[in-house]
């Protein structure tokens, strides 16, 4: 029983998403982007499961995708809590900030000096103040008795 062309193309799309997620999780250093890449891999697997479900004509693949969604939600919650704690300890979202956890025989990652970024910092327009600022007490404005 040869799979239909739609099933095969769905499998190819799933393989592409899985590969892109793998490349992201291997190469990026921002913890949040690494977790986004892991979610991309889960999406690729979900597309493959749905394709196989279509091929075999039963609901097993789709039911599995429902559980993949559930586990992804749990995983994202716990992972983000860990990321927040890591940020509170080191002040960076950098995976290399935790390289003291590496194997003892591996060399230490040392960041080279980066060339200065030539990306313009974002500038936002400012409205010119119009009229005369009336007299007001900024402290009194904080004590609002009626809101």
């Amino acid at each position: 029983m040869t799979p239909s062309p739609l099933v095969l193309d769905g499998l190819v799309v799933g393989a592409m998403l899985l590969t892109l997620g793998l490349v992201g999780i291997l190469s990026r250093r921002n913890l949040i982007v690494m977790f986004l890449s892991a979610e991309l891999m889960l999406q690729g697997i979900s597309v493959s499961l749905v394709s196989w479900s279509r091929h075999h004509g039963d609901w097993g693949g789709q039911v599995l995708v429902v559980f993949v969604l559930t586990v992804a939600a749990c995983e994202a919650a716990l992972a983000l809590v860990f990321v927040l704690q890591a940020f509170a300890r080191t002040g960076r979202l950098d995976a290399a900030a935790w390289q003291s956890l590496r194997e003892s025989n591996l060399p230490r990652t040392i960041d080279l000096e980066l060339p200065a970024s030539d990306a313009e910092p974002l500038t936002f327009p400012r409205l010119t103040p119009a009229g005369v600022e009336p007299d007001h007490d900024p402290d009194a404005a904080l004590e609002r008795e009626h809101v």
Partner: protein, 268 residues
């Protein structure tokens, strides 16, 4: 991969597509460059990526009708382009936005393949909840600009080559599936087996398992709460445990660097 010439042409096209994809990813990943070199690499990488996607599309199979083909092409391109941009974008906020676009594409692919409920659930759960949570954490943790660690990658060349090898193997295997009846996928359809193992599928069995049936969601729910009821209960417990665990972890405020929080003393 096949004795006749047509498939080997497809195979070489696929190999070229995978190679172009790897080179494009390597060029697009942040490598700590700046200025003209970075802009040139980004343009060339985008061009190579477009060439790779064109080659993949050229190797694709002809689906049933022109409408189905065009819709599947559009949604899968949205998914793949969004995923690639998620991986290579420097700014993590933009990466999250690109991930939302990839999710929309994935939901479209699921709709086309015949998983209507899952397509909508992906949008609701991922784009509505998980992605918003990611953005919250990003805004809490990295409110300003691009950091230095967003401009460099760990081993971009090696990871791009790894991705190319994996994608090449997967597409090779999927291509073999289409080449003919192999041993790997000769299991009888469940509907066929239920109908007595014969070649003819009765109308009732066909209707029971058709993913495009009108009462798709009802059938999926019946399967979920019938055969997989215990797993649903376990998933509910898992969600509860994750909720309690994340609250327990986040409520432990980290004290000074390196100090272990002392356990609370219990009064005698």
């Amino acid at each position: 991969m096949s004795p006749d010439g047509g498939l080997s042409t497809t195979g070489s096209l696929l190999a070229m597509a995978v190679g172009c994809a790897a080179a494009s990813l390597w060029l697009l990943l942040p490598r700590g460059e700046s200025g003209m070199r970075e802009r040139a690499a980004r343009r060339f990488g985008t061009l190579l990526g477009a060439v790779s996607l064109t080659l993949f599309v050229a190797c694709g199979r002809r689906l049933g009708g022109i409408g189905e083909e065009v819709i599947f092409l559009v949604v899968s391109l949205v998914a793949v382009v969004g995923a690639a941009a998620t991986v290579v974008t420097r700014s993590p906020v933009y990466a999250a936005i690109w991930f939302a676009l990839a999710l929309a594409g994935v939901a479209g692919v699921m709709l086309v393949i015949g998983a209507q409920f899952l397509g909508v659930a992906t949008i609701v759960v991922y784009a509505g909840a998980i992605l918003v949570m990611f953005l919250f954490v990003l805004m809490l943790a990295q409110p300003t600009g691009m950091a230095a660690y967003d401009r460099v990658s760990n081993e971009p060349l090696l990871s791009a080559v790894t991705g190319a090898v994996l994608l090449g193997l997967l597409t090779l295997f999927i291509g073999r599936l289409s080449a003919g009846p192999a041993d790997c996928c000769s299991f009888p359809l469940k509907a066929t087996a239920l109908a007595g193992g014969g070649t003819a599928v009765t109308g009732q069995a066909r209707q029971d398992t058709d993913p495009l049936a009108a009462d798709h969601v009802a059938r999926l729910g019946g399967e979920l709460f019938g055969r997989h009821l215990l797993a649903v209960e376990a998933a509910g417990v898992l969600l509860l445990v994750a909720l309690v665990g994340s609250i327990a972890i986040v409520s432990r405020t980290p004290t000074e660097e390196g100090t272990v929080p002392q356990p609370r003393r219990v009064a005698p």
